[in-house]
Symmetry: C2
Subunit: 318 residues, 2 copies
Amino acid sequence: MDVIVGIDIGGTSTKFGLVDLNGKVHYQSKIPTASHEKFEGFISELSKAIKKSANELSDKVEIRGIGIGAPNANYYRGTIEEAPNLRWKGILPIVEIIKGNFNVPVVITNDANAAAMGEMIYGGAKEMKDFIVITLGTGLGAGIVCNGKLVLGHDGFAAELGHVIINPRGRQCGCGRKGCLETYVSATGIKRTVYKMLADHLEESELRGISFHDLSTKMIAEYALRGDVVAKDAFEYTGQVLGAKLADTVAHTNPEAIFLFGGLSLSGDLIFEPTRKYLEQTLMPIYKGKVKLLPSGLQNQSAPILGASSLVVSQLNA
Amino acid sequence: MDVIVGIDIGGTSTKFGLVDLNGKVHYQSKIPTASHEKFEGFISELSKAIKKSANELSDKVEIRGIGIGAPNANYYRGTIEEAPNLRWKGILPIVEIIKGNFNVPVVITNDANAAAMGEMIYGGAKEMKDFIVITLGTGLGAGIVCNGKLVLGHDGFAAELGHVIINPRGRQCGCGRKGCLETYVSATGIKRTVYKMLADHLEESELRGISFHDLSTKMIAEYALRGDVVAKDAFEYTGQVLGAKLADTVAHTNPEAIFLFGGLSLSGDLIFEPTRKYLEQTLMPIYKGKVKLLPSGLQNQSAPILGASSLVVSQLNA
């Protein structure tokens, strides 16, 4: 059986899976990302774990390629560069090292681009040539597809939609600037909004009893469903900021659909309804009623691995 | 000699030219756009003028294709749709009619997309795969190229960057919304800025003696070069709005360069310096120092015709 290895490198753990050419995940496992002082040690452990898993699955498994989703990945250079949430600094030539261990095509890109490729090959965008995936996690990532191809940009850093500016005098962002979209729309963003609302308003709310560190998106969603005014308003406000900003994004690439993936997007109508409302309200007339706002078709545990593996599928088919 | 016809349809006049496959314009003429009550009458006159010009040039001229740049053009349907500055309303099947008259490939797209194709084939973007052209005229248009291909979008209406929103409570726009980029950055936009400044400030300025209708971009540039404070501030402010907004656009498609074409861009340093300064200042760190802001390589009379003809060149080469 021919398989592609999908690898999803996160700050804490690195997941990998063996995916057949139809997108079925046959084996899935993970190793800790942070336990090796040297990057080479980490890659060595990861390579061994992959080879072992292939042998365990069947002695007829043949690895055809490896796709990697990682933070601060440079597609063109095959590197991870100055990733703030990894312990290894500098420029890591990951593609070269893994190619050396397996001698198959190896492709790397950032997590959100991997999600967009996954959506196109296995998810809700199978028939689409122009769409956008927004990944909502601790931050906000995006993958843009135009003319059936991922937009990587001249330096490989396209689609940093988490860092378009909502308000130049707004919230401090980790990138060093102020008012970036992800300071409002992300797991951290909606928490900041809850605390802003608790500061601005007088309404009683169960959220007044919870510390910033203890609060999660899931809790805000639970309170909102129970009718908590602050929690409901926080979702409304988050959808307003996202919807209005996506109207500008539509004026760039005129996508058929925008998919929301992960984290906040799992709150369903709480986030989709206001986002859709404010998107529609803000869109330029020629776009009104034409852009679908959809949940990702890959909302499950294997999505990052599928996304990463799909990078290679698209290259093998090219 | 093989030629491609480039047609540039404007509200007042329609220019056309015969362009050889190296981008040399051999013949150029125009007819009035608005003198025919019926669209069919206009196309008939245009077709005759083109055939006559080909015969005049040489009896060995062979027309290989026709490219059209027009307002509200739909590339996919080959139509002009509800163009506010043309006298014919509804949906005009221009490609079908012209194909009937010439029996060669005919392509249409909006003026700014034509400018971007022209830039790629004949202008400053010959070696580029990822760039953006901003056309500054009465309004602001744009053409986006990613992976070496024009981004048309799902409905053929991509790159309406004149209508990304700067300030939701800002200036009234012709599109029915408020605060669109082109209400600040365009020939009309900078005039509005001059009048806002004359209202807000007390500085003496020669501009206080000129009516809104009499004022032109060229005059504002002349006053600015002579040291008029209001005129200089108006350029500074226009560059600030454009530069800051282009930083968001870079976060979408990570272009190698952004070209400014026509109108305001002919004011040179007056517009390029502040735009470059605020773009650089606003860019996310990973993009800083990487995006070129350049004048179009097609800043001459034949540019719209070259742009329109290049649409067909790219299709013949595909």
